[in-house]
């Protein structure tokens, strides 16, 4: 038998502790600092709860209100305007599709420019990344409000809102995927004498393309959900129908629309996960 745990006595522990003291826990100063960190975290949490007057009673009352609404939602009903609902829903899906495709295409070159291993100029990369951050800092809904003023009510404003908000997010995700790409494969292409853009095309793109497509598909699904909201501010899609029905407290019709949205998103999720699995499969990329 190998010398196991049973052979370790107090003396053996002391010997090992003398050899590598840090293996038996951090030094006291570090431990105190860690405790202070946790304490600060708890204090912050408590302060915020107190500030917003979050109390068990208020939460309980809120739950009671939600239960009343849930009761009114049963049974869900399509109401008298099923055609409007279906048109709104397909409009939302189309908006999400168009906005995501456009953003995904524009984000590819931006992603390459923002990647540390591609754009070697620190100043350029830093400025580009800050621009990404700026665009990401503004929510889709704000963009929608802006575009409704700029191009008028309707789905175009929604498509532009999705497009603008997602370029920066996808570009950042793409840049990170490119930075995590394996250097050796690109080195193999460079060693054959290929110029920079061809090294990216043959050494990096085949590695990151499945990741890029998978992320774009994920955003398409997520955007279908958020496109349902954009209608509330007049940017087209199913959101307007939902807002109107909430205003007149037609909760059974609201429930019907929510169920339709859930089914649509589930269908898109199913399709895109199939597609993603195909993409990361064994077939060679072109």
């Amino acid at each position: 038998m190998s010398p196991g745990l049973a052979t370790i006595d107090a003396a053996a522990v002391a010997a090992a502790r003398a050899k590598v003291p840090a293996a038996f826990g951090s030094p006291p100063t570090q431990r105190v600092l860690r405790w202070l960190g946790w304490l600060a975290f708890a204090a912050w949490l408590g302060t915020v709860l107190w500030w917003f007057d979050v109390s068990p009673v208020r939460i309980w009352n809120g739950i009671a209100g939600v239960m009343t609404i849930l009761r009114l939602m049963v049974p869900p009903s399509p109401g008298e305007h099923l055609d409007d609902i279906l048109r709104g829903l397909s409009e939302s899906v189309a908006m999400a599709f168009l906005g995501t495709v456009m953003a995904a295409i524009v984000a590819v070159p931006l992603g390459f420019l923002g990647a540390r291993n591609v754009a070697t100029s620190l100043l350029f990369r830093f400025s580009l990344r800050r621009v990404f951050d700026g665009f990401r800092g503004v929510d889709q809904l704000i963009w929608a409000l802006v575009y409704v003023r700029a191009v008028g009510l309707g789905p175009l404003a929604g498509v532009l809102a999705i497009f603008t908000a997602d370029i920066a997010v996808l570009a950042k995700l793409y840049a990170e995927a490119i930075e995590n790409a394996e250097k050796r494969q690109a080195e193999g292409v460079a060693s054959a004498g290929a110029r920079g853009v061809l090294v990216m095309r043959f050494g990096i793109l085949p590695q990151v393309l499945p990741v890029m497509l998978a992320q774009a598909l994920y955003y398409f699904e997520s955007n279908t959900r958020s496109a349902a909201i954009l209608g509330i501010v007049g940017a087209g899609g199913i959101g307007l129908q939902v807002a109107e029905r909430i205003r007149i407290r037609a909760w059974d019709e609201v429930a019907f629309i929510i169920i339709l949205i859930l089914l649509t998103v589930a269908a898109i999720d199913l399709l895109s996960s199939r597609l993603r699995q195909r993409l990361i499969g064994t077939a060679p990329l072109h």
Partner: protein, 270 residues
């Protein structure tokens, strides 16, 4: 006693391991040789049950290992520790935690999730690392070590499992000759000093001859040779590798990590 009875594994139309029957007595150092794709790796993975056999049985001390499920299967894996060609350490964890991974099946899940290892376990880990001159590296991240050091960390992890058998899958194929020798010496030491059964896949003949009590040669999934290193005739080598030993030596001189001689004569085969 570890016994393989008609062990078979098919991948689609390919039979990677074909009706292998072997008896390995406790404390033996067994070298498995053969060309790439001869089924050596698959056989070791079958023994650890990382791969499921298509047919046949694995018996250890009267227990049918192939029938084990759940906790009993995990206990078997702990008992038959595995070393990999690419070391398979968790790169982002420190060396100490990598070694303590060997204890995971010996302790409670919750305390393990919180990384609450006892002082005794830490001491055992440090002492085992120290056996391979790595105690100083205990708090370094695994990916900062050289290949030879990483493989010794992997051996320390295996030893923390307190196994009866050590399965080494091409342990030196990714190492330079000097590091390869250090690792083979380490395997030899735990075979001799700790009395562990060691089954070691090697693709170089010289290394197998220098370190193993017994050699099994595989070709196309089948055992074509089983005997002492001395019994490995030129004819047998030709059968296993499809070339003469001279051609093989020439090819090895060009391509392989061969560890032909023992550094420590005390560890030589009696």
């Amino acid at each position: 006693m570890l016994e393989l009875q008609g062990l078979t594994r098919r991948f689609g139309a390919v039979t990677a391991v074909d009706d292998v029957t072997l008896r390995v007595s406790n404390g033996q150092m067994l070298g498995v040789i053969g060309r790439s794709g001869a089924g050596k790796s698959t056989m070791l993975r079958l023994i650890n049950r990382l791969a499921e056999p298509s047919g046949g049985r694995i018996m250890f001390e009267g227990t049918d290992v192939t029938a084990l499920r759940g906790k009993a299967l995990r206990d078997w894996r702990t008992c038959a520790a595995m070393i990999f060609q690419q070391f398979n350490l968790v790169q982002r964890l420190d060396v100490l935690t990598n070694v303590l991974v060997g204890r995971l099946n010996h302790r409670g899940t919750l305390s393990s999730l919180l990384k609450l290892f006892t002082a005794e376990e830490r001491a055992l880990a440090i002492r085992t690392l120290d056996r391979f001159d790595l105690a100083e590296a205990a708090l370094q991240r695994a990916d900062t070590l050289s290949g030879g050091q990483q493989q010794r960390v992997a051996i320390a992890r295996a030893l923390l499992q307190e196994p009866r058998i050590l399965l080494a899958d091409e342990p030196i194929a990714s190492l330079d000759p000097r590091n390869g020798r250090v690792v083979m010496d380490a395997l030899r030491r735990i075979n001799r000093e700790d009395g562990l059964t060691v089954i070691c896949n090697l693709h170089t003949l010289d290394t197998a001859r220098a370190y193993c009590d017994r050699i099994v040669g595989m070709a196309k999934g089948r055992v074509v040779f089983d005997g002492a290193p001395a019994a490995l005739t030129a004819h047998m080598v030709r059968e296993i590798y499809g070339m003469t030993e001279d051609e093989l030596a020439e090819a090895e001189a060009v391509t392989s990590t061969s560890v032909g001689t023992l550094r420590d004569p005390a560890l030589a085969i009696a």
